[in-house]
């Protein structure tokens, strides 16, 4: 099934995207209301939480260009050394821009 991108068609497509995205925003919360939270479930949840971040970042680091790797490397080193997020993030972005400028 396809929808033509006329004005009504585009509005319909945006409505469909909105509903699908809302299902993802509400769905996890809704499904958890049927789960009893015991220590194992809590262990699963808290390990999963930071693993989401790692799973987003892994392909950026492994498959990314030199700029992406420099950015993540710089942020990691500064964050571990000083534990100040904003300077670490800013330095990472500058490292990405510099890396791409010089390659």
């Amino acid at each position: 099934m396809t929808i033509e991108t006329t004005v009504p068609g585009t509005l319909l497509l945006i409505a469909i995207m909105t509903i699908v995205t809302l299902i993802t925003r509400f769905g996890g919360i809704f499904l958890m209301s049927f789960v009893t939270i015991n220590p194992r479930v809590e262990g699963f949840i808290n390990a999963m939480a930071s693993s989401v971040l790692i799973a987003i970042l892994a392909p950026m680091a492994v498959e990314g260009d030199i700029g992406a790797r420099l950015a993540l490397g710089t942020t990691a080193v500064l964050m571990l050394a000083f534990r100040k997020p904003l300077p670490a993030i800013a330095a990472g972005i500058i490292a990405a821009a510099a890396g791409r400028y010089f390659t």
């Binding site: 497509l13 999963m48 992406a68």
Partner: protein
């Protein structure tokens, strides 16, 4: 649950302070919104259509991916599949906040999750790991990020050419660096590090060998399984 006591009260003052806490990162979100607005009009969306999409969907990666499928016609089921796959991480993000969210009345619980996105969730999740209950950042931080995404898209459709190549400025790495800083700011016990190694390995295997956009969910669930079997001592 038969008892309907909701002990969590969102504090307006804290919602405001979390709004301003995420203001710096929101400036970068404006830049990304501009890149989206420009790409959208180049694909044939009208300025207001592109802006409406950002207002309603508020999920950048999936919006960019949809543009790749945009033409005179759009195939509906593939578009739904891509949007769902990219945004399925929200399912896990919402679930991970449930121990706090269940203490809010349902209206507020689902209301604040309207603006649930990577950056404000990362702050809330890390605060929770450190024993701080912070749903105010979902609301206040989510609002500032949403406003930034809206302003960015709107300016992108009109002035996007000023920002033709956000990659050359490193702007595509803002979210990556932010999420990495959040992850490294949290606990780094052997248990967490093993979960991360498993998550990264599973994510890469999914990235290479499974359908596109499944790697975040696969990696996160794999990390969660480690946490299920290896409990923190203080929890036992």
């Amino acid at each position: 649950m038969s008892t309907t006591v909701y002990p969590y009260r969102l504090e307006p003052a804290k919602v405001r302070s979390e709004f301003f806490r995420l203001l710096p990162i929101s400036f970068f979100v404006v830049a990304f919104g501009m890149a989206f607005g420009l790409a959208a009009v180049q694909k044939g969306l009208a300025p207001l259509e592109a802006t409406l999409m950002s207002v309603m969907v508020f999920a950048g990666a999936s919006q960019f991916a949809t543009l790749e499928m945009w033409g005179t016609e759009v195939a509906v089921l593939p578009m739904m599949a891509v949007v769902f796959a990219i945004n399925s991480r929200h399912l896990l993000m919402g679930a991970s906040l449930y121990p706090m969210l269940r203490e809010l009345p349902p209206g507020q619980r689902y209301g604040i999750s309207l603006v649930l996105t990577d950056a404000n969730w990362a702050v809330a999740a890390q605060d929770y790991q450190q024993g701080k209950r912070n749903l105010e950042v979902i609301m206040g931080g989510g609002l500032v990020l949403w406003i930034a995404w809206l302003i960015g898209t709107l300016s992108g459709v009109y002035f996007g050419r000023l920002l033709q190549n956000p990659q050359s400025l490193g702007l595509d790495m803002v979210l990556g660096c932010f999420l990495l800083a959040m992850a490294l700011g949290g606990k780094k016990t052997p248990r967490v590090l093993v979960a991360w190694a498993v998550a990264a390995t599973a994510a890469m295997m999914a990235y290479w060998w499974m359908p596109p956009h499944t790697h975040v969910v696969v990696g996160a669930l794999a990390g969660g399984v480690v946490g299920f079997f290896w409990l923190d001592k203080k929890h036992s």
